[in-house]
């Protein structure tokens, strides 16, 4: 498998800056996913158990690379295994966004007229809310848990999917090949699934990738204000919340390392998204 990935990477890199962005972003994301996946076997300490003879708030040392928190838990171990929740939430929210935003954008803009206007109005009014505030409101209503957080994040981002997909469909449905298909009697569902859908895949991929980063940051925000997952599960957002109380006692390591991980994961997706959009958007090509 590696032998097929490496040449692929080198061709990407040859496409210039966009290729580099994708490669670096992908390496970051893949590294974090792999790290989280194999964390049960590589953690030096149990990330959830509170040790019986704890060294509380120990600063980084050879024993605890990233120090310990106020319960004496090893922060390095918690960082290794704390990405799972973030990843689950962001993947689930992107799937929900796609499952709702994509068909809505497709049908509304293809149908046009009143349908388009009504759906567009609803989407725009959702878009008008500040994202995090809306997510907080919905998360507070739904309660804790991965699925609930993913849903509240999805609600915030569905309008951006809708908008991008709608504008793409609007421009593609005027192209001659759609008219040509109609002129030989193609059915509406054929035009939607075989003519329009494949042609909007590139921009959809770009929105989804960029949206991953947004979802991660929103998830971190929600966890930070206490709307995340139960405390027992190691999670970077959770550790940030716990750590900020300890900052006054000088324990900078409690929030620095989980914070860096969140930034790296969001950065990875952002880089990929930017690279993809530059690569797939013909208007930016020289």
């Amino acid at each position: 498998m590696l032998s097929s990935i490496l040449p692929g990477l080198s061709t990407l890199v040859k496409r210039g800056l966009a290729g580099w962005l994708i490669v670096i972003g992908a390496i970051l994301v893949v590294a974090i996913v792999v790290m989280t996946a194999i964390s049960p076997w590589i953690v030096p300490y149990d990330p959830t158990e509170i040790p019986s003879s704890p060294s509380i708030l120990a600063s980084p040392s050879t024993q605890h690379f990233f120090g310990t928190n106020d319960l004496g838990q090893d922060i390095f171990s918690r960082v290794l295994s704390g990405g799972g929740i973030m990843l689950q939430i962001s993947i689930l929210s992107v799937i929900v966004c796609l499952a709702i935003g994509l068909p809505l954008g497709l049908f509304a803009s293809y149908a046009g007229g009143a349908v388009d206007r009504v759906v567009g109005l609803v989407m725009d009014s959702m878009y008008a809310f500040p994202g995090l505030v809306l997510a907080i409101a919905i998360a507070a209503m739904l309660g804790r848990g991965v699925v609930n957080m993913a849903l509240s994040i999805a609600v915030v981002y569905i309008p951006s999917y809708f908008r991008v997909i709608r504008s793409q469909v609007l421009s593609i449905k005027e192209v001659t090949y759609i008219e040509a298909a109609k002129a030989v009697g193609a059915k509406n569902h054929t035009i939607l699934t075989r003519y329009i859908l494949p042609n909007i895949v590139p921009s959809t991929v770009v929105v989804a990738t960029v949206n991953f980063a947004d979802a991660i940051l929103t998830a971190a925000g929600l966890t930070f204000i206490g709307l995340g997952v139960p405390v027992t599960i190691p999670d970077w957002g959770q550790d940030l919340t716990m750590g900020q109380r300890l900052l006054t006692s000088g324990a900078w390591w409690t929030i620095t390392f989980p914070g860096i991980m969140i930034i790296l994961l969001a950065l990875g997706f952002t880089l990929m998204g930017e690279g993809l959009s530059e690569l797939l958007n013909p208007r930016l090509e020289q």
């Binding site: 001659t176 090949y177 040509a180 109609k182 002129a183 030989v184 009697g185 054929t190 494949p198």
Partner: protein, 329 residues
Amino acid sequence: MSGENKENSHLLTVNNLTVEYWARRGRIRAVEDVSFSLDKGETLGIVGESGSGKSTLGLSLIHLVPYPGRIVRGTILLEGQDVLKFGREKTRDLRGRRLSYVFQDPMMSLNPVERIGSHFVELIQTHEPKVTKAEAMIRAKKLFKDVGIQPERIDDYPHQLSGGMRQRVMIALAIALNPSLVIADEPTTALDVIVQAKILDLLNALRDAYGMALILITHDLSIVLERSDRIMVMYAGHVVEYAQSADVYRNPQHPYTQGLLKSIPNVELDEQTLEAIAGSPPDMLNPPKGCRFWPRCYCPSERCKKDEPRLVSTEQDHYVRCSKYGRGE
């Protein structure tokens, strides 16, 4: 236009067709009161400049006038049936099977993400659901031979073909279900001159081989003069002259047609001054009063500026819309 009693025997009869675009700033009559008929095996050339309504006329024949256009009056009889009265499903079935359309821009007429062959499979299966994919591909390969493309190219993507080849593919798609009428809307405008001649000859050869009728819409009178049986010259939504090609060539009667003919280079003449028609087409929101052509005409009379001339018959099968030839009834 021909005798009323013969109407049903024609392949296509269009009566008093009027198409308007209901724009925000007013109604634009893109096609006004157009009537003609077409028989099996015939070619009709529709000539006019941009905005003359020729494409709108073509699209209204397959009921695909773009929004905000609508057919406000008239009938289109195809083999005796009024296609404007067809429901949505029947209209969809009509397109491709009985009527098909070849668009101007072959570069954009094929779905860029599908192989050429899939276009054929899709088209054939839409109209004949029982046909298998393999059978459709065999038929597509035969069509490829008919339009002069190597059958192997069927697995290519559209971007792998040249403009001329893509237009051949579009023509193959248009004739795939053996329609009785093919409408080609400036099929060669995007192509270079040599490919242009080949495509037009191909269309005429296919017309004979498949026994269908052909409507050739173009802004270039010279390319339809020798290839069509009859020519309809349009100006600002009106038919200004309608006659046998030979008559249009020998005896053009409308000043606009005369102008068009004078602008075509003739290699047989030693000396020839090419003349252009002065001015530009009228603003269709405010067409000139009287004859729509008078501001550009070389001999407008006072009457031309006041009264709109009617289409009158000046000789056998020759119709002109010009006050010089009388006002009609």
